[in-house]
């Protein structure tokens, strides 16, 4: 004889797998986030490729006065378009087309001022809304370099070493390895990947509790020779299994997308091996158990499917809060993060992806806290279903 909870589990799963609408939603979630990830990365890679190939387009007005600057720009892969004088509005219109990064306008008095060693004005016109900050930075750096080289030459003529101008030399070292940089970026999206554990089981959890009340079949089910705990455990496991299935598929799809994309072009990599990924998935199974238990404990209090849906739309915000709020705080990885479901799974995935040894505690917390939550939720649900008020309400 099969254990009773297994009978319930089998029947609920059979029903869930026949619910075509729920299956479509499940499939949608399985592919939606990975596709989002793919399109964002694809865009980034596209852009990264372009900046290397394309030179920066720049308009210079009055360039004849500054031949050295023009040479400097050309040497640094800037295409200089020399123009005659333009009005302010003509410059604004030109920048609106967004083909030119900026307009450098050498004023008429430049040569006079320059020769008399007064500050000689060069105007830099740009459209900050055009989001070409990187290219603009390059132009600014070239202008700064030009400025410093003139200053150096003048000091030298007065017998002063140009080194006086640069008492401090700043050299930059970026210590982010390619994999830790990829970790930082992917983190934002990956948090959402685990929140889906709460989406996948919603239909099964609602259908087997609130739906059962709406169909008016719960009273009879409760009058069968089955312990209330077995009833709930069967329904709980069925919903959790749907979640495990969805989450596993979704993470595997994401994993293969990350493996297959040319992330090197972004200076990133996804070095996580398939066994490590499977381990991360295995540690996420308790999250699915918690999600299902939490939703069943809630949905069983709703008298109809609709009422349950309203409850759920608020309830699923809860697990998403930590993955949205905590990244905003810009905190370093800390042990307490592993005690917050969803955030814990995301943090664990990222730390494992960085390829650093993190010890056992994060794994224990990531799996243990949701298990405890699931036990509490099912304990509450069992107490509730036994109560007289609940029986009277079915």
């Amino acid at each position: 004889m099969r254990p009773e909870f297994f009978v319930v589990l089998h029947k609920e799963l059979k029903e869930a797998m026949r619910d075509r609408r729920a299956l479509v939603v499940l499939l949608l979630f399985v592919v939606m986030y990975p596709v989002m990830l793919w399109s964002i990365l694809h865009n980034l890679i596209d852009k990264a490729g372009k900046t290397e190939r394309e030179s920066v387009e720049l308009v210079v007005i009055g360039g004849a006065q500054v031949p050295t600057l023009v040479t400097r720009l050309t040497q640094r892969n800037v295409t200089v378009n020399q123009r005659g004088d333009m009005s302010d509005s003509a410059i604004t219109d030109l920048l609106k087309e967004r083909k030119q990064v900026a307009v450098v306008k050498v004023t008429d008095q430049f040569t006079d001022n320059y020769n008399e060693m007064r500050p000689a004005k060069i105007e830099l016109w740009y459209d900050s809304a055009a989001e070409q900050q990187n290219k603009l930075n390059r132009i600014e750096a070239i202008l700064r370099g030009y400025n410093e080289s003139i200053a150096g030459a003048r000091l030298l003529a007065h017998g002063v070493s140009p080194a006086t101008l640069a008492p401090i030399q700043i050299e930059q070292f970026d210590t982010a390895t390619s994999s830790s940089r990829s970790a930082g970026f992917a983190g934002a999206l990956l948090g959402m990947f685990f929140a889906t554990a709460f989406f996948f089981c919603i239909n099964a959890a609602m259908d087997s509790t609130a739906g059962e009340r709406e169909r008016r079949s719960l009273e009879l089910l409760m009058a069968q020779p089955v312990r209330p705990f077995d009833l709930l455990a069967g329904k709980w496991m069925a919903a959790a299994l749907v979640s495990v299935l969805g989450l596993t598929l979704e993470l595997l799809v994401a994993h293969f997308i990350l493996k297959w994309m040319p992330l090197e072009e972004l200076g990133m990599s996804w070095r996580l091996s398939l066994p490590s990924m499977l381990m991360v998935i295995a540690v996420s199974i308790p999250l699915c158990l918690f999600a299902a238990a939490f939703e069943i404990a809630l949905a069983m209090n709703a008298k109809s499917f609709k009422e349950a849906q309203t409850m759920m739309s608020f309830a699923i915000l809860l697990p998403m809060l930590p993955v949205i709020v905590v990244p905003m705080l810009d905190l370093n990885t800390a042990t307490w993060m592993y005690a917050l479901p969803v955030l814990a799974n995301k943090t664990l995935l990222l730390e494992v992806a960085k390829g650093q040894a993190i010890g056992l505690l994060p794994f224990v917390l990531t799996a243990g806290v949701p298990l405890l939550g699931a036990a509490l939720a099912i304990g509450f649900a069992t107490w509730r279903i036994k109560s007289e008020r609940y029986v009277l309400g079915v």
């Binding site: 029947k11 029903e15 619910d19 008016r216 069968q224 007289e388 029986v391």
Partner: protein, 244 residues
Amino acid sequence: MILVDEVRKRFGQVQALAGVNFTLADGQTTALLGPNGAGKTTLLRLLVGLLQRDHGAITIDGVDPAQEPLKARRSIGFLTDQVGLYERLSTREHLAYFGQLHGMDAAAIKRRTDDVVGMLAMEDIIDRRAKEFSQGQRLKVALARALLHKPRHLLLDEPTRGLDVMSTRALRRALDTLRQDGCCILLATHVMQEVTHLCDDVIVIAKGKTVAQGSPQQLCERTGIASLEDAFVSLVGTEEGIAI
């Protein structure tokens, strides 16, 4: 054999049952008559151990449903006034599910499924999913579900509502067979014709109390009224001031 002795149940301010007494013998069909709100549903829920009584005693073949609900339920076939079905399961799957919940093995489920399908004349819907079943078809599935594990006791709440003439007759024949097998049947109903056709014994409850128990004949004699329906109205009305 079901014994109910001085059972009381109160919900907050409402005294749902205020002293119910009766004995249901094996091999007998007993009608449970009472106006709406008399406490029939509460009584049935107490019998299957879904609710706990405040006072009195209930035994079902010696088992107290409040103490050992699972044991009591194994010998009970229950048809509630709610016949919810699972839309995505076929009739056969419904029966298998409830058979398994009663601990039956696959062979027993198959054998009994064939039995009840024949008994209730439902060959046409056995492999169809419950989604577009009519009210009568739904009730048949619910009845089959209650009969599947060959219960010693049957608690049926209005089992003929929504059934056509042919199905009603099939049900009556089925209940007759069960009674002859020694089954103890309690039938909550509002159809007087059913009581006269089917029942050996009648219990009348009103306002949570047993007003009378006896054969239809005895009730008529006691009230001095020839028709059972009028006798019922007189029993309920004269003592409780309730009209139906």
